[in-house]
Symmetry: C2
């Protein structure tokens, strides 16, 4: 945890420093830093996410998994703002001599991911490196309505999540048994519901949204802070896959772990039926898990009747078997 | 040279593999891979360029120089397509523990470069790394007329270059004397004429353009191949700075070395006066250095009366003093 906190502080420092050193530099923006993606005045949504070997993935992901995931995480950010993913450009820094089998496998997964999530891969840059493989994808999207932001939640809104939570985290921590490969599969090939965000935005059904990349225990407080509202979640309502329930107590993974890339959103109670109908039309499971608090109340995310599970670092030691996982690097 | 060739072959392999593995993936494009930037159907121009420590820069560039240069090289690609630079997003992978003084200096240079070249820095992602500092900037632009491509040159067109050539390469190779710091200054802080490409495009003055990032000996054959025409350059006409002429025979650096980020463009003879007037209005020196050949002739770039200087690798040993420079990594 200390290293994860350091990394968060480092990121905050870098962003603040660049913003301070460059006063007046961020122009042409409807929405600047702090949301899932930037929203330009012309309705283009832009995000960028990097993946570095040893930091964001280890040998449990094949090169094709890495390619897929790079597309997934970026498309997820775009769609969480209520935009339809459109195009992407790639940077790949790869050590010499080039491992051509790695490139072929990576390209297959990246292509499959881009097709799945609606991204046209329009260009890129490749360089050598003396270090680990480092990848970065910039992805854009087109708004289909007002953007869905973290700041838009209103007092009394329902809180919803898509899909099921916790599989990717359980896979990462080596939760075993017959479910092990199924859970790891979600870590390897996350499948964010990229039509949901634009669908909610187009129909004007939701007030706020963000994708769950770091887990509910980390991400929900960010939505609360941005919207200046508290939130109460009923842990019994959090959706879990059969595989996860069969293997382990799901809550620590549902709330404490990330990488599911499901959507968390806030919407008025009047829209419940329309939201469920949209989920059905898109084939996306939607679950109401709690509600936002009152204006002027405490800005705090509460798990009713329980404390929040401690959020884990990506590469912390395996909590279930006690085996040491890859070090936090 | 062999390593540089390997790297070029690696890049070609990666692009081909991704394109092949992802058939039908590049959609919504007016101009795809192979030009300075991609051009989307909606007139947005997008490019990405990465810089890795030890590959693209060494200790002769300060962190602020690196930030400036990252903005410059990307804005140069956008402007070479005839587009006005608009926005950029950054990826920075930096080793732990974070060197905060490095971040501050880098941010200062990046901010200055973005302002200089008209880029709004709208977002980014920062990650840790176990390797060298790795930076990537995705930059976009807005077309102001038909895009200026490498493919558009016509038989008999004049060939023009902006600014002066060779300073950055001479600085890189440690050409010394009183000019040394001046020449290194161009390597550290390239100043691409980013209003020239859009100016030419808006007025419809040029048929083709590209920026000179790898040097005339490498870049001109690319324009020839794309336009399927030969070219003849008069070496005596190539513009050189006083600092370069005072220090050394300029031709090897003008033609064999890159990193000047000046514009090479092809235009009909009828536009000469208008082109010179545009250069004057923008404060950009423009020099006519040769011409394109006839249709159906040999597709070859000829330096009249001379062979092309051998293009150097970025980090080849210092050719003037015989001192070993940083190794090609």
């Amino acid at each position: 945890m200390p290293e994860e906190q350091d990394e968060e502080q480092d990121e905050v420092y870098i962003i603040r420093t660049i913003t301070e050193q460059a006063p007046g530099l961020m122009t042409g923006l409807r929405v600047g830093p702090g949301d899932d993606a930037a929203v330009l005045d012309d309705g283009t949504v832009v995000t960028v996410d990097a993946m570095v070997e040893g930091v964001h993935w280890d040998e449990r992901l094949s090169p094709a998994d890495v390619g897929w995931k790079l597309a997934a995480v970026n498309a997820s950010d775009v769609a969480a703002c209520g935009a339809r993913p459109t195009w992407a450009v790639l940077t790949a820094s790869l050590p010499a001599p080039l491992d051509r089998a790695w490139v072929r496998d990576f390209a297959e997964g990246l292509g499959a991911g881009c097709r799945r999530f609606g991204l046209s891969l329009i260009g890129g840059d490749t360089t050598g490196s003396t270090g680990p493989r480092a990848l970065s994808l910039t992805a854009a999207g087109a708004l289909v309505g007002p953007p869905l932001l973290r700041t838009g939640a209103r007092p009394g809104d329902d809180l919803w999540v898509s899909g099921t939570l916790g599989d990717a985290d359980a896979g990462l921590r080596g939760v075993g048994g017959p479910s092990g490969e199924t859970l790891l599969g979600v870590l390897r090939r996350p499948d964010p519901p990229v039509r949901l965000g634009p669908g909610l935005a187009e129909a004007g059904l939701a007030h706020a949204a963000m994708d769950l990349s770091d887990g509910l225990a980390r991400d929900l407080p960010r939505l609360c802070a941005a919207s200046k509202l508290g939130a109460r979640i009923d842990p019994a309502l959090l959706p879990a896959s059969d595989a996860l329930r069969a293997a382990v107590d799901p809550l620590p993974h549902q709330a404490g772990g990330g990488e599911d890339y499901q959507l968390l959103f806030a919407a008025p109670a009047a829209n419940r039926a329309a939201i469920l109908a949209l989920g059905e039309a898109l084939g996306v499971r939607l679950t109401r898990v709690g509600a936002l608090g009152a204006a002027g109340g405490p800005v705090e995310a509460v798990l009713v009747g329980r404390g929040w599970p401690k959020p884990w670092d990506h590469f912390e030691a395996d909590v279930d078997s006690g085996e040491a996982g890859p070090a936090n690097r």
